[in-house]
């Protein structure tokens, strides 16, 4: 058994570091906060690595199957005897893999930020937010209870909000942070209702029990009977949960926040919007995979089609964007789409579970090379002080290390052997080929586009037109400063990640992570790999001929595909559609009438009652004039009236 305390410390160390920095450090030792944060992450990483070693090689496997171990469980909020939100730590292959990824990438980003954020006045706040994020993300992946995951899910969202809006005096950053929070919140509504549905029909919030009961034929027979619009209640539940996942993972049509989120500092984009938080959606599907696969037929098709569509869609847009971070953002959407549809085409158990394994494998390799790409882009932005491709070119000689590591990452993401992305992508493509040919064909088109736009990016930054150092200096608002390759703290993570991008693919991944905990061989099928690799090379060659030297070909192609190109450039106008729906429809058709009705109808009737009372009293107040003559008159007229009445009744 692993000492629960050590596992608990993995998320706890970052939150302690957050508290120290936010409450004390910010005021008393601002310059040391970065080191404190980095040190705490380093400790967390070491612990995660130790836990991973213990789990994978010593205690996790019982009779050849990796077990789910609940290391700690505490009833945090007890609703009923069965239903409670527990704070628990769940160890299984995917959670152990994730804690290693999260702490490792976070550590790299911390180290990198020491250089990148140097001189920023609010650097201590920055590091406190990074710690907060890391804590939340670790809580999310270790959660043993679906509601606990929701809690950390929201915390991850808010840390992302704080970090995107880090430059809070910049209106675009504020707008982007707001957008990210609201779009994901909207998706989380699905998650929340999904949780309520699942918990009602399975009677528990615990992942283990939810999975066990919903896949138990005796139990699920009664569940299938409850249906709504042709789908069983359970299917509705998992699909609603999937909406939450699609929001966090920026799947179409909830992807609109991710490109804007690039307003945050670049290391943040590397950590949150490339390697960790955005894969949360994939993670939740993987976490509930038995329910999706065994208890809810059809739900995985939804996952597969959403995944492949987002993947292709984002890849097309990525080919047209000129802001290098936005290209990477769309590429992230596309790659997460790969992980998503890989789960969608997968089955449960044995060879059927190849897609599951491929998805997790791709999650693993992608986090490495995508973080590297972002950090490399950050290094470039740091150098030229611009995000736009037109301000870059010929940087290969000026920043050799950034150039080399960036190239490694591009080769990895393009799926060229023997780099990391090749191995994971092959597994996914094979899984797609085995189960759904349509998905497979779309996927290899996407893979070709991936190679094309990544090398478009690479050539535009490091080759293409050549700026002299003098010209580059001119971009920095007239200030002259000495150009230099990034400092050591920034290069170190690049080098480490670059090395890993080369070797990570050789991990015998299927031995450790599979849908049912049994080892799965991930041998390569060389004959199968020929087509995807050739296509990737075609993509690279196209990019080479278009962008290696400045020439007119890209423009010609763009004019040739005019309508399509323009709409892709404008991201297919999805943002505009949303703006129309929210601002024009929701605000004008619901918000404004609600406010108007409240002021005029509801409140109006209250004021009306008051006015009515007032007017009645002013009507009758004339009667009490205070004049003795009037009262005498009333008295006698009343008297006469009575007399007449009595006479009338009498007779």
């Amino acid at each position: 058994m692993i000492e629960p305390l050590y596992i608990a410390l993995i998320p706890l160390i970052p939150i302690i570091s957050f508290l120290i920095i936010a409450l004390i450090g910010r005021r008393y030792f601002p310059t040391w906060c970065g080191f404190l944060g980095t040190l705490s992450l380093f400790t967390s990483f070491i612990l995660s690595a130790a836990v991973a070693y213990r789990y994978f090689f010593e205690i996790g496997k019982v009779e050849g199957v990796y077990q789910k171990i609940i290391a700690l469980k505490y009833a945090w909020l007890q609703f009923t005897p069965d239903l409670s939100i527990d704070m628990g730590l769940l160890l299984d292959p995917i959670s152990v893999m994730m804690i290693v990824i999260v702490t490792f990438i976070s550590l790299m980003v911390h180290v990198y930020s020491l250089g990148y954020m140097k001189g920023d006045a609010r650097i201590s706040t920055y590091f406190s937010f990074l710690s907060l994020f890391t804590f939340s993300m670790l809580g999310l992946v270790l959660a043993s209870n679906i509601f606990m995951m929701y809690i950390f899910w929201e915390l991850v969202g808010v840390s992302s909000f704080l970090l995107i809006g880090y430059y809070y005096d910049k209106p675009s950053a504020v707008a982007a942070s707001k957008k990210a929070f609201i779009v994901t919140r909207f998706a989380d509504l699905g998650f929340l209702i999904g949780i309520l549905v699942l918990s009602y029909y399975t009677g528990s919030l615990d992942f283990g029990i939810i999975i066990e009961r919903s896949t138990d034929p005796a139990f699920s027979g009664s569940l299938a009977a409850v249906s709504f619009m042709g789908l069983s209640a359970l299917t509705w539940g998992v699909l609603l949960v999937f909406i939450g996942g699609a929001g966090k993972s920026a799947m179409f049509p909830l992807h609109i926040w991710l490109p804007d989120a690039m307003e945050g500092p670049t290391p943040v984009s590397a950590l949150i919007h490339a390697a960790t938080m955005v894969v949360a959606g994939v993670y939740i599907v993987a976490r509930l995979f038995p329910v999706f696969s065994l208890a809810c037929p059809g739900s995985l098709d939804v996952v597969a089609y959403v995944g492949i569509f987002s993947s292709l869609f984002a890849a097309i847009i990525a080919c047209t964007q000129t802001d290098i971070k936005r290209v990477l953002a769309y590429s992230t959407i596309s790659q997460i789409g790969f992980m998503m549809f890989a789960l969608g085409v997968s089955g449960y158990g044995g060879e059927q579970g190849l897609g599951y394994m491929g998805s997790m494998f791709h999650l693993f390799t992608h986090s490495i090379f995508k973080a590297l790409l972002f950090l490399g882009a950050g290094s470039v932005i740091h150098y030229v002080h611009s995000n736009e491709m037109k301000d870059m070119g010929g940087l290969r000689k000026l920043m050799p290390i950034t150039h080399l590591t960036f190239l490694l990452a591009c080769l990895a993401i393009a799926g060229i052997p023997p780099f990391a992305g090749f191995f994971s992508k092959e597994e996914i493509l094979l899984a797609a080929w085995n189960s759904n040919k349509l998905v497979y064909y779309l996927a290899i088109i996407t893979a070709t586009l991936t190679a094309f736009y990544m090398f478009r990016l690479y050539f535009s930054i490091f080759w293409n037109k050549t700026f002299s150092p003098k010209q580059l200096e001119g971009h920095v608002n007239g200030e002259t400063h000495k150009l230099h390759e990034a400092p050591g703290t920034m290069l170190f993570p690049l080098i480490i990640l670059g090395l890993l991008s080369v070797v990570a693919g050789f991990v015998p991944f299927g031995k450790f992570v599979s849908s049912d905990g049994l080892a799965l061989s991930n041998e390569l099928h060389l004959s199968f790999s020929v087509v995807p690799v050739l296509l990737a090379i075609v993509g690279i060659i196209m990019a080479f001929s278009f962008y290696q030297k400045e020439n007119a070909a890209p423009k010609k192609l763009a004019t040739g595909l005019k309508g399509f190109y323009t709409s892709a450039y404008h991201k297919f106008y999805i943002d505009e559609v949303y703006l129309f729906i929210t601002h024009k429809l929701v605000f004008n058709l619901i918000g404004r009438p609600a406010a108007w009705i409240d002021k005029n109808v509801v409140d109006g009737s209250m004021n009306g009652i008051a006015a009515l009372t007032g007017s009645i009293s002013s009507l009758i107040k004339g009667l009490q004039s205070g004049k003795l003559q009037d009262y005498t008159l009333y008295f006698f007229s009343g008297l006469i009236g009575f007399v007449l009445l009595i006479i009338y009744l009498w007779t």
Partner: protein, 502 residues
């Protein structure tokens, strides 16, 4: 033996002491010390309550005290507390403490201002400990009248109109309550034709369903007016926005909870069958308040109006929880009362801080406050995050408990209501972030703002106290639920018994 009457006496003595003070400095310190003692007493009450329960005292109410007030009508001064009242008392003590600190700079008619504030708190404490309907009503009235003066004298904007509106609507509500209480009284019989106001006695009696159906609307709507039951919520926006900061804090933090508490403790507890009979209507009105309040908030441009309308929406959760009539939902309703009380007090407090400095509450005119007055800015962000239900703050656990509790009713109507209520959290996020992004973040809109000074020590202490209280529930909700689960269970048993006997 803990003497509950102290909870009423201490603020009353403080109020009287304020009248004897010579200058505003003395007034402030006397009020501060008085409210601090009261806070200490309330925390002490919590611990002696827990100790008593731990020692195995299983009676429904603890620390009971009875004194016959008016024999002929069997009116008693009868006090006692259960877990629910203890949480309400703690809420009151924290909000009063913070409110006094926030009002540190009041210079016009200082004496009268603090006197009225303290008098309000006497009403609130008395209300929460009363177990006799007549005494309860007596304290309810004490908690209403001073508000009229507080708004009319120290308020801003169209204060006379707002003060009048608030006072009339709340008086209207309490007159309904009075009718309900009297009607209940005359339907009780403790033997020999003697009627009773004793809440525990009445709960044991069986009032016929037809009678309940008649009385319940009076009680529920009457108390509902206080807690912004749709469509009787229109005093909320005007009243809050005209009230001085501390009065807003009281109004939203405590007064609106008098209503929620009354709906639960008096209306639902005493008339369980009627509550069940009208449950669909309560749920309907609550859902309307939640959704419609949220959308109306979207269109507001004044920070106080934003928070006032959002209070309508958030108090809808209290009504919803009560209307759902499941144990978990009622626990959620109580949590929401405390949570909303603390959160909204913090919100109005920080809006007051902003207004004192910038002299505007218009979102359009504000901007970049985080840069010039970081403490105030951060508090605003925290209040906003709490309001939109971020985990770690009390709002999250309260709302989630209401949702989980509501979902236990499997009929389609409750399901739809719950889903709509859940959907409101998205709208909440939109209006909170809109306001925060424009007023606190973003570029500085007015060069005058560069001269602003950050929070004073009193403002800091007030904010920190409220934030700690919010976190204590948000991070460790188990102590809170443990405190009230048993009492909710008793209320539920009464409901179930009422239903099965019919």
């Amino acid at each position: 033996m803990t003497n509950l009457t102290l909870l009423v006496v201490i603020p009353l003595l403080t109020a009287l002491a304020v009248l004897l003070c010579q200058n505003s400095k003395q007034i402030r310190w006397v009020s501060f010390v008085g409210s601090l003692i009261q806070l200490g007493l309330s925390v002490g009450l919590l611990f002696s309550y827990l100790a008593e329960r731990a020692a195995g005292n299983a009676s429904q109410m603890l620390f009971e005290f009875k004194y016959s007030w008016y024999k002929a009508f069997n009116i008693e001064y009868f006090v006692g507390v259960d877990g629910i009242s203890v949480t309400m008392i703690l809420l009151t003590a924290v909000v009063v403490f913070a409110g006094i600190l926030i009002s540190w700079k009041i210079e016009t008619l200082t004496k009268e201002f603090f006197f009225l504030l303290l008098l309000l708190s006497v009403g609130a404490y008395g209300f929460f400990i009363s177990l006799d309907l007549f005494t309860l009503f007596f304290f309810l009235e004490i908690a209403v009248i001073p508000k009229f003066l507080l708004i009319a004298i120290w308020g801003s904007g169209k204060k006379e109109y707002s003060a009048m509106k608030l006072a009339l609507m709340l008086m209207g509500g309490s007159s309904l309550v009075l009718i309900g209480i009297l009607a209940t009284y005359f339907h009780t019989d403790t033997g020999g034709g003697v009627h009773t106001f004793n809440l525990l006695e009445i709960a044991k009696q069986h009032i016929s369903l037809d009678t309940q159906k008649l009385i319940f609307p009076f009680l529920f709507v009457g108390f509902g007016v206080f807690t912004a039951l749709f469509p009787f919520h229109t005093w909320v926006p005007d009243g809050h926005s005209s009230a001085p900061t501390a009065a807003s804090m009281f109004l939203a933090g405590i007064s609106m909870k008098l209503g929620g508490y009354g709906c639960l403790r008096v209306a639902t507890y005493l008339m369980p069958e009627a509550a069940h009979y009208y449950s669909w209507l309560i749920i309907l009105l609550a859902t309307i308040a939640i959704i419609y309040g949220a959308f109306a908030t979207l269109m507001q441009k004044d920070l106080k109006y934003i928070n006032a309308y959002s209070s309508v929406s958030h108090c809808g959760f209290i009504i919803l929880g009560i209307g759902m009539l499941t144990k978990v939902a009622i626990i959620g309703a109580v949590m929401q009362m405390v949570s909303h009380g603390l959160m909204t007090a913090l919100f109005f407090g920080v809006i007051g801080m902003i207004y004192d400095r910038t002299h505007t509450r218009q979102v359009e005119l504000l901007g970049g406050l985080l840069k010039v007055i970081p403490f105030v800015g951060v508090v605003y962000v925290i209040a906003g995050l709490c309001s939109l239900g971020l985990p770690g703050f009390s709002g999250f656990v309260a709302e989630m408990t209401v949702f989980v509790g509501s979902w236990q009713n499997p009929d389609t109507f409750s399901r739809v209501a719950t889903i709509l209520a859940c959907a409101s959290i998205v709208v909440t996020a939109v209006y909170i972030l809109q306001a925060t992004a424009k007023s606190v973040m973003g570029p500085i809109t007015n060069t005058e703002y560069l001269k602003l000074t950050d929070a004073t020590w009193t403002e800091k202490l007030a904010s920190v106290t409220l934030i700690l209280a919010i976190l204590s529930i948000g991070l460790a909700p188990f102590w809170f639920t443990n405190l009230i689960t048993n009492d909710t269970q008793l209320i539920m048993e009464n409901i179930v018994r009422g239903l099965s006997s019919n």
